[in-house]
């Protein structure tokens, strides 16, 4: 061995720091690059914030709901959304308030009509309303907003039993949003394992798994879901039905993830570092854990995010048809069961409010997934 004399350029510490600052991007870790790429996608960033907000509201559903969702009230069936006033009788701006409503039977049409009275009820922040168990830990009666007894606040109107639709939407978010997450989590497990095996071993195993995926994909999903969901015995408890529906949704959802994982694993397997690890006698498990999974994670997360909306839509559709979740479970699909007849919608269009939330969440997840997919490979130049 001959030692070569290299002259080290004489850099001061400050010079080096300056150099690094200018070329920051070249020193950035992969995680940082992904974050930088993701940040550029403003809509995805906004969607991420909105989704976090939705989940936050869902977790603290009782705090955000205005009325007890189990409180029936024959006095207030199909009340239209309460009008919130910002201007008082003198014409000055004031703290928002509502007016009380009274029901009256119209003797000509034989329908109930609601008229607003003169009593005013200010909307109170951090109102003490009905009591509930806070996350199952302790009893509380604190709510974000509310009005004093005597006034009733229906932000999105009430349903046929006089229950507050807004509060039900808030509670329904728990089921509708968690079913997507749990379903995708199960799909991830199936998809990653089967896709990984398919891509890693190749050959016969690969062909077999690919055939299974092809067959599953050629089934029209809704009829298949209908058949599976209809096979759940009606006497099962709502919780079991909930988990079974999640399982059913993920049974079909895994195929997309499996395909992505297979593609990435096949590509990473050809990389030099994987080959080197194999030659040094690393076990298959070690290679999968150390070399294949880390490279695939970001793609898997992006694909998983993109498959959440389909699950939310599927749950909503099945529950709407009456073969998914059933009352007393509150989900957005169950809420939309009320909107099954067009005459109900025509008379009380506010029963469609839950639909707005379904659409919004699906949109946000789609945008977020797009952003994540762009960020998944930060070394790729965007077209």
């Amino acid at each position: 061995m001959t030692s070569t004399n290299t002259t080290v350029p004489d850099f001061s510490e400050a010079d080096l720091e300056k150099q690094q600052k200018g070329n920051d991007i070249f020193y950035a870790s992969k995680k940082r690059l992904m974050w930088l790429r993701f940040k550029q996608h403003k809509v995805a960033l906004f969607s991420a914030i909105m989704i976090i907000l939705f989940y936050f509201v869902a977790i603290f559903a009782h705090f955000f709901s205005v009325q007890d969702i189990n409180k029936f009230s024959a006095k207030y069936t199909y009340v239209s959304p309460t009008e919130i006033h910002f201007v008082d009788n003198e014409g000055d701006f004031t703290w928002p308030y509502i007016k009380n409503i009274t029901r009256r039977l119209n003797m000509e049409t034989l329908e109930f009509e609601y008229t607003t009275g003169e009593e005013t009820y200010p909307i109170k922040l951090f109102h003490r309303g009905y009591s509930y168990m806070f996350l199952g830990l302790f009893e509380s009666n604190l709510h974000l907003i509310g009005v004093d007894d005597g006034g009733v606040l229906f932000l999105m109107g009430s349903d046929k039993l006089g229950r507050d639709i807004f509060s039900k939407v808030v509670h329904g978010a728990r089921i509708s949003l968690s079913i997507g997450l749990i379903g995708v989590f199960l799909s991830l497990i199936f998809g990653t394992i089967l896709g990984g095996i398919s891509g890693f071993y190749g050959g016969r195993t690969d062909t077999l798994i690919q055939r299974v995926i092809e067959i599953l994909m050629s089934f029209p999903s809704i009829p298949l879901w209908m058949a599976l969901a209809a096979s759940l015995p009606p006497q099962w408890s709502p919780l079991v039905v909930y988990f079974m529906i999640t399982l059913i949704l993920s049974l079909i959802g895994w195929t997309g993830i499996a395909r992505v994982v297979r593609g990435i694993v096949m590509r990473l397997k050809e990389e030099k570092y994987t080959e080197a690890a194999l030659l040094s006698g690393a076990s298959n498990f070690y290679i999968i854990r150390k070399h294949l999974l880390p490279g695939a994670t970001s793609f898997i997360i992006a694909q998983a995010t993109l498959s959440i909306p389909a699950m939310i839509i599927a749950e909503t559709s099945l529950s709407f048809l009456g073969i998914g979740l059933r009352p007393p479970v509150v989900s957005w699909g169950v809420l939309l069961q009320e909107a099954q007849s067009v005459t109900v919608i025509a008379n009380n269009p506010w029963v469609l409010y839950p639909a707005l939330f379904v659409i919004a969440v699906v949109l946000f997840f789609n945008f977020l997934g797009d952003g994540l997919r762009d960020a998944a490979d930060p070394y790729m130049n965007r077209a």
């Binding site: 089934f219 009829p223 298949l224 096979s231 015995p233 067009v342 269009p349 469609l352 789609n366 945008f367």
Partner: protein, 329 residues
């Protein structure tokens, strides 16, 4: 080419067999069966029956089914080549008398929707790609995202509500009252086609949205390639430059979407049909599933899968015709 088609057809045979098995297992999943329901009904009516097993055996003999799932399966599947799909317990009729009309309408809606989505995506995609980041492009993307996000059944509900609001009658069904029970004729077909646009729009929106994105993306890629510049510099008129070269490239990815679009269209039309009460497969399948009418439900499920398999087969053949690289590989 013939060899390619033949090979593709042969591959789909095992798929069909597996699908028939899966369909049959699926509809057997619910605990109890039609016979159980029937027996409990009889027991309520006639309290004097005490030999339930004998009753069970006699009903099973009458309906031609046995306790064993495998025997039932082979009875069912062996009738297929003869066009015999078993007996519907609910309707008290052979399944083959019931399904063809419904399947035909499902096929009609799916086919019209597919053509509609392809043509819309083709035209809109080209215009969007040629004038990117303009108002038109943004409007298209906006509706595209919205189309992907709105569940089919909601769109159907919304259109029903709007038609009630605007025309005073909610849209539902596929025929005008005078044709409802009339035999098939040209007039009836015309009547169906004049009603079909609502389900077509409802079912097609999501698919169109994703196809426009694909068409636009490939067109955008192709438009910047040197051969386009060459064609332009030769003095070809714009429409010729576009239609002759980049569009030919962009059509292949569009055609390849047909394969996975079809299952989605079929499944979308099932749920839309239930909401709009169209006389297609959807509502009847739901009814059969809930009533545990196993042969009817199984045949519907199987036929829907067959429909999509045939569709995928056709799309593969179209793809091979369009792109020699596929048929020669």
């Amino acid at each position: 080419m013939l060899q390619y088609i033949l090979r593709r057809c042969l591959i789909s045979i095992p798929t069909l067999i597996i699908i028939s098995i899966v369909s049959f297992i699926l509809i057997q999943l619910p605990p109890g069966d039609f016979v159980d329901a029937y027996i409990s009904e009889r027991l309520i009516v006639d309290g004097s029956i005490n030999d339930v097993d004998a009753l069970r055996a006699s009903i099973q003999a009458e309906l031609g089914i046995s306790d064993s799932m495998i025997v039932n399966y082979f009875n069912w599947i062996s009738g297929f080549p003869k066009g015999d799909f078993g007996y519907s317990f609910q309707h008290q009729k052979p399944v083959s008398d019931l399904i063809w009309g419904k399947l035909g309408l499902t096929f009609l809606i799916t086919f019209v929707t597919l053509v509609f989505t392809l043509i819309t995506a083709f035209i809109t995609g080209i215009i969007s790609a040629m004038k990117p980041y303009t108002l038109f492009d943004y409007i298209v993307s906006f509706f595209g995202f919205l189309g992907l996000a709105v569940p089919n059944f909601l769109l159907a509900l919304l259109l029903m509500y709007l038609s009630l609001d605007w025309f005073g009658t909610p849209f539902s069904g596929l025929f005008s009252p005078e044709y409802l029970n009339a035999p098939w004729s040209m007039d009836k077909l015309w009547d169906a086609l004049s009603h079909i646009w609502i389900p077509v729009i409802v079912v097609g929106t999501a698919g169109t949205a994703s196809q426009i994105r694909i068409m636009r993306a490939t067109m955008m890629d192709e438009l910047h390639k040197p051969y386009v510049d060459t064609a332009r510099s030769k003095g070809l008129p714009t429409y010729k430059v576009i239609l002759k070269y980049p569009v030919r490239h962009a059509v292949t990815p569009l055609a390849s979407t047909i394969g996975w679009q079809l299952p989605e269209l079929v499944s979308g039309s099932a749920i839309v049909a239930i909401v709009l009460s169209l006389p297609t497969t959807g509502p009847y399948l739901l009814q059969a599933l809930q009533g545990q009418d196993m042969y009817l439900a199984g045949t519907f499920l199987m036929m829907l899968a067959v429909l999509t398999i045939i569709g995928t087969l056709l799309s593969d053949i179209i793809l091979a015709l369009l792109d020699p690289r596929i048929r020669l590989s």
